[in-house]
Amino acid sequence: MTPSQEQRRWMYRTMLLSRRFEEAIAAAYFEGKQPAFNMANGPIPGEMHLSNGQEPCAVGVCAHLDEGDFVTATHRPHHIAIAKGVDLKAMAAEIFGKQTGLSGGRGGHMHLFDAKVNFSCAGIIAEGMGPAVGAAAAFRQRGEKRVAVSFIGEGAANQGAFHEALNLAAVWQAPVVFVIEDNAWGISVAKKDSTSVTDNALRAAAYGMPGHRVTGNDPLKIFDVAGAAITRARAGQGPTLIEIETYRLEGHFIGDAEGYRAEGEVVGLKAKDPIAVLRQLLLQEGTIDVAADVRIQAEAQSAVAEAIAAARAAPFPAAQAAFEQVFA
């Protein structure tokens, strides 16, 4: 499958939007945390996991989804949330802990929920896999054409929940696609030190389902492979496992000294920044011209600026709100 020109532009725009968003979040995150970096301080406390470099996974997959499709993501969720259409303003406000946030400040960056577009994420490794299988099974049972996609990291592929979810999906022939973002690291532990196979796509055979590995962090290749898998799922032909080679351009979270990385690793990855690569390609092939690029960049920038400004301006929730919505 090849994305149309419109889809290519959407992918580029969405990757940019995610990148600009995370740059703005990172900048805000550092406010108030200096000189001694203390995670509790500043307008955005707690852990902050950036997805810079991993945007191709999000857009290559989500280009095939619409609002009704169900997506679960991880502790590193922004790029996927944005590609799935989560409201950028409400998401920014949530990350700033504001009343206007997706959940009024209850969840924060690791717990972004937008029921309108069927998006959620969580802080526990592989926790979203079971729910994706269940949502997909419900779609199948009700005869709906909706699918579910569960994103995880390559480190999560060694968690028990991974195995159980893949087996259950296969037994139920649920319309679900499992997407592993292989950024080579689980915090400081390299994939080769944690994983007994080099290619997690091989593990699909353990569940009698197709498995694919996509190399090069290439949004077009991802679009192709994910498109086939999602089409297959929608057609009632069951689940697929996809592993994508991708790049984590930043630390595990902001503040990570990254002493475990090989010298030059990050520089090398940044030289292959997928946004630059895609821009080059779109310009070359004429999908966008320089003027369009400038406009797309400006739009991304201003959408982000608007969301961040609104988040900053929004009120904090009242303390008493903490007691609300524990139960429905």
Binding site: S103, A115, A122, I124, E127, A137, L168, Q325, F327, A328
Partner: protein, 343 residues
């Protein structure tokens, strides 16, 4: 509740009452489905899904692989997209392989989503020992579940409540942990406490979650129990009555929400409290109930509260070891007498 007048009694076991409630709700509501190990053709190891597979078929009564993390997680996903799953964790003792899906996912999604994604599901699970099934198949773990926010927790002590609580649980928009005690279940192979089998109307009726029952009224001492220990407390009350002691027996029925008012009203009246619990003693239900009374009924308390609970040790296999450890009527009566200075 609108039970017809003059109807003939229909004594059911808890197992049958649970299955009946689920079946009724499945007939009414196509979004209800049942998931778990051996809940299909077998009808549940504890009989509480018997007949469902035959009536509703494999699509709505799904036997699962031995993959509790996946299928409980799947139930949450189903709930998020409009289904109302009733899931079975065969023995509560198995919670260790899947607690994340229960306490961090099912329990917290409503909150984390700011109310956007409530999780209407029932997690039913068997609890309790006394029949020699040893330390990984005999635990109650009431305290474990009640301690963690976001889950409602109910414990029926009889078939009437079992049906009414199940209907309430399925209709509740929140995750409800439904803990049924094996000694009350009414499976022949487990033996059954007589009092657990009682009259169950065929009609639909709800037992509200969060409301304790006064199983017996009295003025001299309050005996608080849940599940199996309610029956021991009632037996103790009968025993005490012979000495002229009128014990009030409270069946908690629900741990979360906890009906603090009913417990406090009774303790304020009697001034004396004994808690009976077959879960581990420390850091659990018995401590919480005593703390509640001590904090909020201190002026009325006439004697130190007492508890009869399972000691803080793994549950041993041998009946010679296990049986003496279990709460029973004699221990409860003795504790009650002690609060009355009659020890």
């Amino acid at each position: 509740m609108n039970a017809p007048l003059n109807r003939t009694k229909r004594n059911l076991t808890i197992a049958k009452a649970m299955a009946e409630a689920i079946a009724e709700e499945m007939r009414r509501d196509p979004s209800v489905l049942v998931l778990g190990e051996d809940i299909g053709k077998l009808g549940g190891v504890f009989g509480n899904t018997r007949g469902l597979y035959e009536e509703f078929g494999a699509a709505r009564v799904k036997d699962t692989p031995i993959s509790e993390t996946a299928f409980i997680g799947a139930a949450v996903g189903m709930a998020c997209v409009g289904m109302k799953p009733v899931v079975e964790l065969m023995f509560v003792d198995f919670f260790g392989v899947c607690m994340d899906a229960i306490y961090n996912l099912a329990a917290k999604n409503c909150y984390f989503s700011g109310g956007q994604s409530p999780v209407p599901m029932v997690l039913m699970t068997s609890v309790g020992g006394g029949y020699g099934d040893a330390g990984q198949h005999s635990q109650c773990l009431y305290g474990t579940f009640a301690h963690l926010p976001g889950l409602k927790v109910v414990v029926p002590s009889n078939a009437y409540d079992a049906k009414g609580l199940m209907l309430s649980a399925i209709r509740d928009p929140n995750p409800v942990v439904y803990m049924f005690h094996k000694a009350l279940q009414g499976m022949g192979w487990l033996g059954t406490v007589k009092g657990a089998i009682n009259d169950v109307p065929e009609d639909e009726y709800l037992v509200p979650i969060g409301k304790a029952a006064i199983a017996r009224s009295g003025k001299d001492v309050t005996l608080v129990g849940l599940g199996a220990t309610v029956h021991h407390a009632l037996d103790a009350a009968a025993e005490l009555a012979k000495d002229g002691v009128e014990a009030e027996v409270i069946d908690l029925r629900s741990l979360v929400p906890l009906d603090r008012e009913t417990v406090l009203a009774s303790v304020r009246k009697t001034g004396r409290l004994v808690v009976a619990d077959d879960d581990y003693q420390s850091f659990g239900v018995s401590g919480e109930i005593i703390a509640l009374a001590s904090e909020a009924a201190f002026p009325q308390l006439k004697a130190a509260p007492r508890r009869v609970a399972f000691p803080d040790i793994p549950i041993p296999f041998s009946p010679a070891l296990e049986r003496p450890l279990l709460p029973d009527a004699a221990k409860i009566a003795a504790a009650a007498r002690a609060t009355l200075g009659k020890a």
